[in-house]
Symmetry: none
Subunit: 184 residues, 2 copies
Amino acid sequence: MSSVTEADAGPSVLLVDDDVIFCQVLCQALTRRGYVVSMAHHMDAALRLAEQDPPEYAVVDLKMPGSSGLVLVEKLRALESHTRIVVLTGYASIATAVEAIKLGAVHYLTKPADADEIVQALRSGEGDATTPVAETPLSVDRLEWEHIQKVLLECESNISVTARRLGMHRRTLQRKLQKRPVRR
Amino acid sequence: MSSVTEADAGPSVLLVDDDVIFCQVLCQALTRRGYVVSMAHHMDAALRLAEQDPPEYAVVDLKMPGSSGLVLVEKLRALESHTRIVVLTGYASIATAVEAIKLGAVHYLTKPADADEIVQALRSGEGDATTPVAETPLSVDRLEWEHIQKVLLECESNISVTARRLGMHRRTLQRKLQKRPVRR
DNA sequence: TGCCAATGTGACATGATGTCGCACTTGTCA
DNA sequence: TGACAAGTGCGACATCATGTCACATTGGCA
């Protein structure tokens, strides 16, 4: 948890991601674009910063030590409902995307995403039904990933319970969760 | 476009999906659960039904002849903002999921999904709480089997094409098809 | 404090998968 | 009719994923 605060005006943005390097790079990119950036690498630190000075924007990762970034989205919104939050994760799933938007995130991006994309997402307006529909169905691997994520969310991220409900071995589930999701 | 309307009370639900068989099966399942179901297989028909009598619930597919189901979500909400809409699609993506929720859908599911899941989604987060929590989700194997069968059908049983679309090796697909009639 | 459930991780036998090759069929087209 | 492209079924084999057992650690609860 560190903070880079400059004296003058510029929209404030809070970065929350346990990947320190990633944070730093993104911090630079945003600073260069005129944002006043603060960073946190886990939930507690993020909350402390936000309580002290609620940011106008926030970029939060889903996979963090301890609890899910979804919880953070909820808390940030509770603290200051005008904060525009973008979820950014390398472990994206439809289940968490739906949840994130319901909790009030303005957008949901998958890593890798460049700074321009992120800025655009932060400022994006309401939805407008123009998103094209995929032309190919999900691959089996992807479908499995989505299903697992869905059940996992229903089980409040309890891996043991999820494994039992899916009729799969806990060890196997763990291994699948560690891997990054396949595209498509 | 047909409609199954019964005289008495029961929450009304509009099914919109160009897959006629799928619609009929789901219609039966919902009717059995006490819903008053009407069906449409493309947007115009759906809108006509909705204008005439806005439903309390709606289940809409994304991939339909003509325009995207997302447009329909928008229009249904414009017609009657209390309609609780669930998007259900075999061509899911994170982008459309985010868009659907922003447009006001209450949930976003990927096919295959069973009737219980759909009902649960329709009611999710509804005022009077009561989230009965799904008992046993489909096993991963079963899900995979259903998905394969669906795509195989779309590919007119062409195993090579299906394998490519599913991102799996043809040999593997063959083996899977030989083995399972699959339980549970 | 001891118990219980959940988690993260290592190790290992076994089964599933990706990959290549080949023979055979079918439909198209010059 | 022959050449050709695409699909199918199946054998073989190296590699990877899975199920299974074990153990240490953590956090809640009585």
